[in-house]
Amino acid sequence: MVMNKKGFFYFVEIALVIFLVTSFFFIFAPRAEITYQKFHDSSDLKKFGFGIMKSLDSRGILLNYIDAADMSKSNFTALRVYINSGLTETTNSQIEYAVNSTNCYSESGNYGNCGLNLNKNTTKEFQVTRVDYTYSKRSDPVTIHLYLWRIL
């Protein structure tokens, strides 16, 4: 009997490709719902953080401790304490005060480049969200960047 192996291997190859593609889709492809949960958690944290800043502003805390004329003379310790006290114990934060597009005061009052500076030694993956709250009751408005992440 003479066999046409070409036809047989075409079928096996196609079946294998379908199998691999389908497996890849079901096993490795990102699922929209998981992405949405992360998005919701991040969005929720951002709204919560903005509420904290808005509450402190309405209670006069930012007015008391942000220097109206010279940002470097602000009470950074007090600002950090009041902002962090509103957060839950499962939320961690880092604060910076942007005075222009590139330069910021850190939460301890050091002047330098803007940006989150997490502990480099950590291997834990953080999903960090940033709240921007602009405080405008001074001649040069300052934007407070409040970085938030869960520490479950």
């Binding site: 066999m3 036809g7 709204k47 808005k54 309405s58 007090a78 006290s85």
Partner: protein, 279 residues
């Protein structure tokens, strides 16, 4: 059978094809239920966000609704992110199912709040003297009293307060050796209490502090041994409370949390965390 194929090869191909089909089918079925749960979670998250908006951003209908004329439920009077305690109490008095049909969007929910910051007060709070409750009573700008009243059963009151940039001192008026009262310092004073009460035992403490413009309640709970929640008041306002359905969906609930201002019956404003759980 195709020309050029032997029966053995055909059987192998059919067998392989069936394996592929079965594998794909079982993989799909195995992932289907979790995916359905996640889709429901997504719907719950949309509902919890939507409910948070309708309760905190827009006034209800009518704005000053009461238990007999409520058409749309809201906790604010139109000032964004302000919750009014009298509206909260009215909703609780109407019971869950009567309120649920007036909510937008329509979803099962559990609402809860915890006051996390308040100011010292230069006049004494009006505080209940009895009942199964614990009361934080402000006396003046530099002192307050903690009253853990008899709870009818064994219960534990846990409270962690922070007095920023202030030195706080606990004075024991009436408590026992099993009641824990500690203070620690870090940019202020952290007061940690764990008070045990029962049918007859009550605990009384005074806390004096140097002047501060805000006092934080970092955590608070008053639970029986069976973990039922007992009320905790700041003056005559519940520090922590919840309202809604007792049960939640198994795998498809979602929570939205907001920082809000909380207005008590006298118009005093506290800072609070507000949570909307839907399913």
């Amino acid at each position: 059978m195709s020309k050029g194929q032997s029966p053995v090869e055909f059987i192998i191909v059919v067998f392989l094809f069936l394996i592929i089909l079965v594998t794909i089918f079982t993989t799909f079925i195995a992932k289907l239920n979790p995916e359905i749960d996640k889709a429901k979670e997504q719907e719950s998250c949309l509902n919890s966000d939507g409910l948070a908006i309708s309760l905190l951003k827009a006034p209800g209908v009518p704005v000053n609704w009461n238990s007999s004329n409520m058409e749309i439920f809201s906790l604010t009077n139109g000032t964004e992110d302000y919750i009014y305690y009298d509206k909260w109490l009215t909703a609780k008095s109407m019971e869950y199912m009567n309120v649920r049909v007036k909510t937008i969007p329509d979803a099962s929910f559990l609402l809860s709040y915890q006051i996390y910051a308040f100011k010292p007060k230069n006049s004494a709070d009006s505080c209940p003297a009895s009942g199964n409750a614990t009361v934080v009573c402000r006396y003046n700008l530099t002192s307050l009293q903690i009253k853990a009243l008899p709870s009818g059963t064994n219960a534990t009151f846990n409270l962690k307060m922070f007095f920023p940039f202030s030195t706080a001192t606990i004075t024991d008026i009436s408590s026992e050796s099993d009641d824990i009262k500690t203070t620690s310092s870090a940019n202020g004073t952290i007061v940690t209490l764990s008070l045990h009460t029962n049918a007859t035992d009550s605990d009384l403490l005074n806390i004096t502090f140097s002047q501060t413009n805000m006092i934080f309640v970092q955590s608070v709970s008053y639970k029986t041994a069976g973990t039922a929640n007992l009320p905790v008041y700041l003056g005559d306002t519940s520090i922590v409370d919840s309202f809604g359905s007792a049960g939640t969906g198994v795998n498809s609930y979602c929570e939205s949390e907001r920082a809000v201002s909380f207005v008590d019956k006298t118009g005093e404003v506290f800072l609070a965390r507000f949570s909307v759980l839907t399913w």
